[in-house]
Symmetry: C2
């Protein structure tokens, strides 16, 4: 299959997890997030801007500025991040709820078997990404880490 999650979405998820791991009130600069996660800085600029415009991040310009979450990590769904950066999650437009569009080659939507199974796929994907939050991702990355990982060289 064609990639569902492009670099844009991957970088965005990594970045928002990075921000979710900051202490309360703390901010991080784009350059720092980019360097620590091996993300091209200019590309990350555009990504964080999208997430900010979607209401998930807040930002501050000037010296000491940077980015932070705009709301609690547990209230930010992975699906919202992906939709903000990549658009609808449906594998094909005719199976999308938010951006339905019929195929030009489709004779009858009601009887199209491709649409039927891809609707099921859409629901299955949504079932995962809309029931997983950024807070869950933070917890998993910690849970999977070796003990004392922070203290190794």
């Amino acid at each position: 299959m064609a990639p569902v999650l492009t670099n844009k979405g991957k970088y965005g998820l990594k970045a928002i997890v990075h921000l979710a791991r900051l202490e309360a009130g703390e901010t991080a600069q784009v350059a720092d997030v980019a360097q620590r996660n091996n993300i091209p800085k200019k590309f990350l600029d555009a990504i964080l801007l999208d997430l900010r415009n979607a209401g998930m991040l807040r930002s501050k310009k000037g010296p000491g500025g940077g980015y932070a979450l705009a709301k609690p990590a547990r209230s930010i769904k992975v699906g919202a991040v992906i939709r903000a950066l990549e658009g609808p999650i449906a594998p094909i437009a005719c199976a999308s709820r938010s951006a339905f569009r019929a195929c030009e080659d489709c004779g009858d939507i009601a009887t199209c078997p491709v649409r039927s199974v891809m609707s099921d796929v859409r629901d299955a994907i949504a079932g995962v990404v809309d029931n997983t939050t950024v807070a869950d991702l933070v917890q998993r990355s910690i849970a999977n880490a070796p003990v004392h990982a922070d203290y190794t060289i």
Copy 2:
């Protein structure tokens, strides 16, 4: 998201459902399958060839030739069709079982939260496409069709 199911996969599914609706022993020519499903003929050539090489279809050249299923529709999984035409179903290579590949920007696969949630998505997608057969698609397209559809003008 980037499209998961490209035209290639969509056309392939439509074509194999078309073939599954033939009567036992019957074959269909590429030109006919293409015309009836609004698929570019030359493009469909390549698609059916892929499905044939994957062992799902059999073909016969020359006058009276054509394509037919190589095995019962209930034994052909939608997932197999998609994998044959589009490759692995995982949204990202690091979450693939059949074609795993680590991201270049990834520091540690074990703690990567993106990989974690995308593995769940992969499993969710596989849960649908590997539990749906071409026979199921045929049945749905019939079940959803209006009564006597075959007799309307």
